[in-house]
Every structure is written in structure tokens, then in C-alpha cells.
Amino acid sequence: MKRSISIILLCAALPLVGCDSSRAPSFQLSEQSLTLSPFAQEKVQGELSAGFGSPAELVVWPELEVDFGNFGGTIGKVGPRPGTIRVADEGLGSQSNLAGDDLLDTLRGAAVVISKTSAVPESGAEGESTSTEAESNTAGNVYRVASYDLETRLLSVVDETGQPAKLDASEGDTVQVLGSTLQTGRNLYLRHCMHCHGVGGDGAGPTAQYFRVKPRDYRQGVIKFTSTKASVPRPSRDDLFRIVKLGVPGTYMPSFMLLPDDEVKLIVEYVRWLAMRGEMERKLNAWLFTSYSQAAVDESENRAELESEFETEWAEDSSDYIERFGNDLKLDWQDADKPESVVNPTVPRTPSSPESIARGRKFFLSKDAKCASCHGETGRGNGPSTEAFNDLPGMPPGTKSDKPGLFDNWGNIVKPRNLTTGVFRGGRRPIDIFRRIHSGIKGTPMQAFGTTLKEDQIWDVVNYVLSIPFEDKQGGH
């Protein structure tokens, strides 16, 4: 009997252990943020929470170039209880493609904006007008969904304190649910991507440690394989969509061809948002790191003074910096989706021929392109630059690595592609290879040649590169 009681106690204690608050999901601070002094770290964390929230408490920051998702309806009737309204017509789901449990999942805890009708364009329900609607319609009061009944279309909302909201609303006003895309994207990301790419997109999910080729860390906003020009630092939505759909051949990144297109798009939107969060953190660090790292505190003669200096600088300048950084995010990601940002050759591909291949090979080896210095004279990815000892990234200049090789922006040694295998990570279509040469591979030593080479020269190199795997099969070449 005594034994069974102790077992019971043990079992009763288990739920408490299991639900330890440390399980609350969170975005981790970056390695660099962790080297900030505690007082600066706290502000960076605070800013990131205010702008992005946590995996469970997402924040819609309307300024960002993200389709956070919004749908809604109009108020049929206010009441009967405080904080409740009856949604008119077909209810809240009619503008979205959500229904039933999916709709309820999205609505749980969602942000709701109730605004006067005057702000809404007449035919606001049309699919293509949703984005403009969102912009014109973001003036109103924000509440949070407490519950929604699919049958009666009764929506009850609460205010920040969790009390039934005191509504300033009347019949005909619009109700908008914000953040539905982000929420669904988050759910899909956690299911399909998080295991390698990590909860916060740091490329350090639980599986990542087993990979030689590291999953992408999105937090610099840099994606290797893009169709965008060298002058455009970010990938387009289409680029990310393609990578998720097709995978990255030759790496652990699988193809998600079986996911429906709309789900992939939601994942892409969430990944973009994660990247922006990382960029914001990085930019805040770039501002604060030099003056307010823990190392700066350790060196300082008067720590209290340094801290008060920081408090003053933060109070005076932070809103300015955050606005500027937010604007950076907006411009860079907006740029990436402009049609003119995509590398589209103006001359058609030179048909592959022994002559074109020979020209391409000559160019590959030439002093003008110097492809061979990394890829090697036979394209095996073993050029002389791979044998040089380079500076370790992220360390004081002059700190040499103890291993030879070229580094990428994430601090990994990257091997130039072995072109004899015929496996191309960014895609094997001629246009893919053209774009690799034209804009380079962002974040890596593979540089952008499009800024200085002519398009027909690039096409010759494309023809040569595509021919390398078959070189020994062409008698006489």
C-alpha cells in the first residue's frame, strides 16, 4: 500500500514537471546577441518581442513586407452580451478559404480589428483587392478573439486584459482577422521545416547537427540560390517557393512537391517573416555591439556610467534606428519581388555547340573570369583558392582558420561545386546556371559576374558547364 501511494505521488508530480514553463516556445537570441551586456540584451529581446512576438504569440507588424493574412466580414448586430457581435451574412470564413475546424484554429487567439465601414472600399470582398483593403483598413480598434460559433456566427472578443471588450461598434462595421497566413504558415513550418531549420530559422534544429551541409540559417535574410540580381540582396517569393517545391539537389533539403501550392506559399511567407526577425536582431546588434557588449562592460572603468549611457542612447535613438531598420527590411524585401529584379537574359541562349563549349571553356580558364581558381581547371571544385588558409569569419581580422578553404557568410567552409557530377544545387536548367553566374551565389565566395561580363559570354560558360559531366564521353574533346 505504501508503495502504491508513492507511485501515485510520483505520477501526480509528473504533470507538473512535464509542463515546466521552460517548455513555452520562444525564439532564441542569436549568438551575437548573447555576447551583449545583460542590459542591452534585455532591450534587444524586448524590441524583438514587440515586433515579432514568440512562436505562440505572433505579432503582426503592419509595416513589414509580409502578407500576414486577413479576412473578415461585416457586423450584423452588436451584442447580446458585452464584447460580442454577430457577423452578418456567411460569417467570418466567407472571405478566406478556411472552414470548419481550420477556421476555428486560426481564430483562436487571433487579432481582430473592428473599424468603421467608411474605410472599406465598396467591392472589398474580391480576392485581388484584399491587400489594398488591408492597407486602407488598418485604422480601428484591435481586440482578440475569445470564441466564435460557426453556426450562430457569434464572435466574442476580449481586450488586452482578457476582459470582454467594450466595443465601439455598430451594425455594418467591418471585422477583420489579422495574421491568419502567419499562423497557418507557422503551423506548417513547425510540422515540415523546424526539425532542420530550427524554431527561429537559425538552421540549428534538432536534426541539423547530423548534417555536413548545414540547413540554411535565414537570420541574415540571405538565401543562396535566387533569381534576383546581384544588386538585390533578398530572394523573391518565387525563389523560395521553388526551393521548397524542388528541394536543393545534392543536399539534405528534400523536395516538398507533395505539399499543395497554397501550403508552400504559407510556409514561404513565414520563412520570410522569420528572416526579417533575424535581420532586425542583426541590425540592432550592429548598432549596439561595439559600445555595449559584455566585453565593453568588462573593459569599462565605470560600469554604472556605461549602463546609464546606454539607457540614454536607447531612449533617444532607438525609435529612430528601429524605424530605419524596419524600412530597410521593407525596401529590401519589396525589391526582391519586383519583376525588374529578376535576372532575365536579353539575348537568347547560344545553342550549345562544340564551338560555344570551347569558347566557354576558354573563358572559364581565362584571366577575365578566373572560374578555375576555385572550380579547378577540370571543374572538379578543387582550384587553388580551396587550398588557401583564410580568415575565420566573425573573428578579428587576421585570425586564420586552421583548415584551408573558402568560407560562406555563415562561417562554414564551402566547397566550390564539383561541376563533373552534373548535380547543381540551384537547379539544372540553363537559366538556373545563367543566374548562378550572373548574380553569384549569395553569401558565398561565388561572385556575381553579371555586373561585368557580357550575356553571350555567360551563355558560353553555361554551355561549357553543362557539358563538363559528359566530357570523357565525347571522343576527341
Binding site: 501515485i8 512535464g18 509542463c19 512562436p55 546581384a230 532607438s318 524605424e323 581580422p397 561572385q447
Partner: protein, 283 residues
């Protein structure tokens, strides 16, 4: 007895499962419950405004200036060239053909002055606005050396990157507050770039084809910056009088000063001499 135990254990085990469902998120399965979305700053507003801009600093008196010398406190170091004359295994007709490629990571003059040291105000003086100069310095690649080795450019202003060599180079730039880029530069090429934000520290750019090549760029949003000359001397004119904090950066020593205070008196040149021991430079 055994039955009784089982009766208790099963519900207790169930409790474990239920209890954990109450946790906000299941990190493995993607079954998300009790999540919330909120909107930053309510709606119809971006990041909180304010910040007291447009406060024009009260500048009394004439501007002063800061002149000084950055000195190496030890015997002049004798760093071996990165590539001795005529020994380059890469592009030997161009790189190190006429002259050896010097190690510019620490250049000490006859007087002990250190060249290529960045001296600059840690931040823009409050409330002051500046127009960038009309011409920006350009970067050249000549005999497989980046020139200048220490470059200062204004945020938001175009500047030119050139290649005067007869071989291709590339410029792999990795700034902190701006986007990185990596431009291939064929012989005679010219590329125009700009940075949007000022940087707190100069950052390094390299060439993957010629691994010894590097240069440092500082992006500024105020004119109170100087790079020391071959004798380690610098001058920063037109400083508003008062107490200022200067940062001193040298590539081997990194931040020689995170922020050293100097009081600039109106209408006068304040002269400083800052000395650093070899240990600061890893020697």
C-alpha cells in the same frame, strides 16, 4: 492491490498527457493550441515615433579641430611581405610582378606612427545634419592590391569599385548593418555600389581569387572621421566644441579605443598622441 495501483496509475498517466497539452505548443508535431496574434502598436502605426529629433544642438563658439598621431609603442615591426616579388603562384605576371605585395595589416612609419587607422566620432552629434561630399573616394585594384587599404564612404551615396588590373578580381564585402555582396570584377571593370546604413566599425572585404587581398571600409553619416597617413597623423576639422567620444580602429588591434573622450575647445586645435604597445596588435 495490484488492481488498485493500476487504477490510479492509468488516470495519473492520462493526467500527464492532458497536462502537457496545456502547454502552449507542441514543439514536435505542429499541433498548435492556444496561440495568439497581436498587432504591433495597435493599428495604423509603425514603430513608435518620437525620439526627439530635430533638436538642434546648441553649439556655442567656433568649431575646433582634433589633430593627432597614432603611435606604435615599440621597435618598428618588420612584417614579411604577403607575396615576395616574383613568387606569386596565382597570376604571376600581374600579382607581385614588379614589386612585392606588402603586409598592410600593420604599417608603421619611421616616426613610429601607424598608417591606415580609422579615427572617428562614435556617433553623429545630436541634432546636426550633414550633406555628403559631392565626390566619393573610389576603390581600385592594382597589382593585386586593394587601393586604398582603408576606405571611408558615406551612407546612402554611390561609390565606385574599379579593377585596373589585367586579371579578374572579386570584392566580397561583409558589412554588419548593411547587406553583403560579392561582385566579380573582370579586367577594367567598374561597379557602383552604396550602403544604406552607417557602420559602427570598419568591415573587411576580400578577394577569393587572391586570398591575401583585403581592405577595410567604414560607412559614415557624419564628416568627423579620418584615416591616418603614413606617419600615423590625422586631422578632424570643424568639430563642434565640447566633449566628444572617438573610436580608434586598426585592423590588427581591432578597437584600440571603443570611445575615448576628448574635449574640443572652440576655435582651437586639440592635439592628442595615442600610443599602443605591440601586444595590442598580436605581436
Amino acid at each position: 492491490m495490484r488492481n488498485l495501483t493500476a487504477l490510479v496509475i492509468v488516470p495519473a498517466a492520462l493526467l500527464v498527457m492532458i497536462g502537457c497539452d496545456l502547454a502552449k505548443i507542441d514543439p514536435g508535431g505542429g499541433a498548435v493550441s492556444q496561440t495568439t496574434v497581436s498587432v504591433r502598436g495597435g493599428v495604423d502605426s509603425g514603430p513608435a515615433g518620437g525620439g526627439g529629433d530635430e533638436v538642434v544642438a546648441v553649439v556655442t563658439g567656433e568649431p575646433g579641430s582634433l589633430t593627432g598621431t597614432i603611435l606604435f609603442d615599440g621597435p618598428k615591426p618588420n612584417l614579411a611581405p604577403l607575396v615576395a616579388k616574383g613568387t606569386s603562384r596565382v597570376d604571376s605576371t600581374v600579382c607581385g610582378a614588379a614589386e612585392a605585395i606588402p603586409d598592410e595589416s600593420l604599417l608603421v612609419g619611421e616616426n613610429g606612427g601607424i598608417a591606415n587607422v580609422f579615427v572617428y566620432l562614435t556617433k553623429k552629434p545630436k541634432g546636426m545634419k550633414f550633406d555628403p561630399p559631392e565626390t566619393q573616394p573610389f576603390l581600385d585594384q592594382d597589382a593585386c592590391i586593394f587601393k586604398p587599404h582603408a576606405l571611408v564612404v558615406w551612407a546612402g551615396v554611390d561609390f565606385e569599385l574599379k579593377n585596373s588590373d589585367k586579371v579578374a578580381h572579386n570584392i566580397d564585402a561583409k558589412p554588419a548593418a548593411n547587406s553583403s555582396f560579392n561582385d566579380g570584377m573582370k579586367p577594367g571593370a567598374s561597379v557602383v555600389r552604396s550602403f544604406r546604413n552607417a557602420e559602427a566599425l570598419p568591415f573587411q572585404s576580400t578577394c577569393a581569387i587572391h586570398p591575401w587581398m583585403r581592405f577595410f571600409t567604414l560607412v559614415v553619416e557624419h564628416p568627423f572621421v579620418a584615416v591616418t597617413d603614413a606617419d600615423g597623423k590625422f586631422e578632424i576639422p570643424n568639430l563642434p566644441p565640447g566633449k566628444h567620444k572617438f573610436r580608434v580602429f586598426q585592423e590588427r588591434g581591432s578597437q584600440l579605443e571603443r570611445g575615448i573622450e576628448v574635449v574640443v575647445s572652440p576655435g582651437k586645435a586639440t592635439t592628442v598622441e595615442w600610443k599602443y604597445p605591440p601586444a595590442k596588435f598580436g605581436l
